[in-house]
Symmetry: C2
Subunit: 403 residues, 2 copies
């Protein structure tokens, strides 16, 4: 039975066209790290909110300098956190601390290093410039200015801005509810001793760890290769989740019940099998009525890992409205990848003199145990009748933070 496989580009486009909007929710500032902002953030006051001294020293009226004065009576010491004071007269100065409010009447700050203080008087050693060492009210941002945009990923730097403008609670994008489903009678738990014909579950742990880095704690489900059990469990999972990530049970074997079970549960098959390696038997579907998106990955580790990063992560970024990272790397060696498949080759990308160079990690096929830990992503090679030459720029799918 001939099957028409879909090209990688077409498959990718179809997956991204099933982006959903999962709405918004309010979380505390502390819990907003790693989330995506769902509101525009404006400055709630001028920043700085007052004329602020940027040095420890004395504040004076420059007019006094103009009239030739170099010695000033110290009126008081002004610390940060003290209400605004007022210079009594142009012959007076105040000692002022970094972060303190410049008093009315003062317009210039001279740092301690350029002042001699003796008997309640300050003598300046060097003529200052008018207005020096002052960070002016509203100099950074005016009240009402848009300072953070909706759809921004919140990292430590954004947390600082949110804190400054009083966002104790932040409106963020909701993330989809996800269940991971593993299948296969050969799989046993990590803490079990497998019999000679068994292996331990790993994909479900890899996927769970991957989702943790994007702020999702998935539920987990394991299904034996039993048609009835699979159907019943998937029915419940489709109802209770926004997304299912399955691994295994989608190749051409007699016990690969997943595609038929999903079809019987109203999940429209968007495509099954892609002209790519690894990850060719990838099955992708959508349950319109429930709005559930189903990524059903082949069972071997490299395939699941590749498909997760190639399809799911970009889909996820799209649903949240954040840009999809585009990375390109320079090949270190010639690569022959002839044929009609889009190839995703395990590689290690490293900066060399500012250039991101990628070296192939030669693995032992898609079941290889350790090649994924030696690589930090996949180079993507589209089908081409010539060898990809060293020095060529090719797309790269990162599987961990590489810089």
């Amino acid at each position: 039975m001939p099957v028409t496989l879909i090209s990688f580009e077409e498959a990718y486009k179809k997956v991204l066209s099933h982006g959903q909007d999962y709405g918004t929710e309010t979380v505390t500032l502390t819990h907003s790290t790693g989330r995506v902002l769902a509101e525009n953030i404006a400055a709630d006051r001028d920043f700085p909110p007052f004329n602020r001294s940027t040095k420890d020293g004395i504040a004076i009226a420059f007019e006094a300098i103009n009239s030739g004065r170099t010695e000033f009576n110290i009126q008081e010491i002004i610390a940060a956190g003290v209400p605004k004071s007022k210079l009594n007269n142009i012959n007076a100065c105040v000692e002022i601390m970094t972060g303190a409010v410049l008093p009315d009447g003062a317009d210039t700050v001279i740092m301690y290093e350029q002042v001699i203080i003796e008997n309640g008087r300050a003598t300046i050693a060097k003529t200052p410039a008018l207005g020096q060492n002052i960070h002016y009210k509203g100099g950074d941002e005016k009240k009402g200015a848009l300072i953070l945009h909706k759809n921004t990923a919140i990292t430590a730097a954004e947390i600082g801005v949110l804190a400054s403008v009083g966002k104790h609670e932040v409106l963020v994008k909701k993330v989809p509810k996800i269940t991971l489903v593993s299948t296969g009678n050969e799989l046993v738990e990590v803490n079990e001793s497998p019999l000679p014909h068994q292996i331990r579950k790993s994909n479900i742990h890899t996927l769970s760890a991957s989702l943790a880095t994007i702020g999702i704690t998935p539920d987990k489900l394991h299904l034996k290769d039993d048609e009835q059990e699979i159907r019943k469990a998937l029915q419940k999972a489709l109802q209770e989740n926004d997304v299912l990530l399955l691994s295994g049970g989608v190749s051409k074997g007699k016990y690969d019940f997943i595609p038929s079970a999903l079809a019987s549960l109203g999940v429209e098959k968007v495509f099954h099998r892609v002209l790519q390696r690894p990850g060719k038997p990838f099955w992708f579907g959508f349950q319109k009525e429930l709005g559930t998106v189903v990524f059903s990955f082949p069972g071997n580790p490299a395939s699941t890992f590749a498909n997760y990063h190639i399809y799911f992560k970009d889909w996820f970024n799209k649903t949240l409205g954040v840009p999809i990272p585009k990375i390109e790397v320079v090949l270190k060696t010639d690569i022959d990848a002839k044929g009609d498949l889009t190839r995703f080759l395990r590689a290690n990308a490293q900066l060399e003199n500012g250039i991101l160079m990628a070296e192939l990690i030669t693995g032992n096929g898609s079941g290889d145990l350790t090649s994924l830990v030696k690589s930090n992503g996949f180079i993507k090679l589209s089908p081409k009748n010539e060898v990809y030459k060293a020095g060529t720029l090719v797309p790269f799918v990162a599987t961990r933070s590489i810089l």
Copy 2:
């Protein structure tokens, strides 16, 4: 009073020389993501643990092909997860699923696409190659082989390997216990409405979010500018923590009680004030008796943020035994950074045709509110009497994941 400032290189070296070893602890596999492995991991069995079919199809003895046979009696169907079977004779075949154990007597797998199955017999359409579609026992790794090294950062890919070899519990490096200390009478809580001369706390939240990305949940402490209060609170904090990260109270103001309080508590000042901008008033010390390391950052946001990433993160990587990332970027424009200071300039580094190019983010001095959200790191410029020309390769300190 002239103060001898320390060079950036010297300060950096001194900080890193205070790397500590905080020991190890055992965590469950699920909780090991983001941690650093403290044990070598060996394969607990051969990988794959058996001769494994990589296709759905039939398994035969190649000897039969040699003798001209193209038709086989189907003896049974072998699923993944079923104990090893045995080919009854060389005229027989088994239907075999991906991941299943190759039966004794069989040595070649032919995929369904190249077989016609009718009336309990399989006819092959194409002559196979001996040994095809088999992933041999131990072909990836032999039992006992070292597959993950101590000091490896655990990401999703490593989780897959740990699961495969049965590491339900993992020995990881302990992380230091950290308290964040903010100081300054001008600071109010994020959910408060500041008076005109007050500002909201932000550094403590930025640092807390930064630490969260490296798996640390710090305690938080705020101190008013009161010498007695500061001394008492720091004494307790020094005893109860491995590391203190302070922000504020270390410049030359009258109320900057931190250095003297730390000195009186037996914290040896390793250095105070560095020839760098931002972050010049950085104070670094060590309480030998207690083993507590003290990073005391200047209070303005850019200084704290810069010093955290420049000093603390590298120090932290060193204590855990993981490599310190070295990133270099290409300048997009000329930069004039003359003077005797090492400059850390806010910049945005982006890949352009495989080259990591950095563009300056022009901020408004170290108190600027939003320049840190527009940048993804700092370019580092050592003191030099010439302009740094566009195209020059310079070091870069990333402040978020940039690729």
